[in-house]
């Protein structure tokens, strides 16, 4: 499941739903990303997506992750719109037979989401607004996977 949501979500509820009724999955790994306050510099984070296109592009990477890590299932839930510090921005869950594949797939998906997914991110702070681009570290993280 790949979903964009414009309201706060409960990562725990997503995990509970994701783990329900599995008999062959031995490992579920999750990652939850939260909006940071940056010591007051980031009062609001505004995330823009291109509805339909953004889910489609994430879906292509999700398909790659499914094959590469032999996943049983995965979920990506991503916030859009105005996000306050402390709120969850992204939730990724992966299910596999064993833990290594579940951990690595989660890491792989997050490196893509942080560096190349079709989102545009604006930070609203005390001094005004600024558009944020991926850091060199974000790109280096993605390149670990040969992408």
């Amino acid at each position: 499941m790949i979903r964009l949501v414009d309201q706060p979500f409960d990562p725990g509820a997503l995990l509970t739903a994701f783990t329900a009724e599995r008999r062959e999955t031995g490992a579920v790994a999750t990652f939850t990303g939260l909006a940071r306050a940056e010591a007051g510099q980031a009062q609001i984070l505004e995330l823009e997506a291109y509805p339909g296109f953004t889910e489609g592009q994430i879906g292509l990477i999700a398909d790659e992750a499914r094959t590469r890590f032999a996943l049983h299932d995965l979920t990506v839930v991503h916030r859009v719109g105005r996000i306050s510090p402390g709120e969850a921005i992204v939730f990724v869950a992966t299910a596999a037979s064993h833990r290594r594949a579940a951990f690595e797939a989660c890491d792989f998906l997050m490196d893509y989401l942080k560096s190349r997914a079709p989102f545009w991110k604006k930070e609203h702070g005390p001094g005004g607004t600024r558009w944020i681009e991926p850091t060199a570290q974000d790109h280096a993280d993605r390149e670990r996977w040969g992408r």
Partner: protein, 80 residues
Amino acid sequence: MARVLLFGPLRDLAGWREQAVDGVTSLSALRERLAADDAELGAALARAGVQVAVDQALVRGDCALAPAAEVAFLPPMSGG
């Protein structure tokens, strides 16, 4: 009538998010029209790193536009 969508910093630069443009049958003609209306936007749309999606599929170079095409200009993606 093509439906043109701008995202991220391009939207701030242009001051609009969505616009209907009449009578253009190719992406290059659409670019010329937008540049004629707003030279600064035209230059920004032509910058390296700005991708174009027509009906939600990425395209490279020029292409024909169907009458009801949706054309999105995508500045460098920031990730989530």
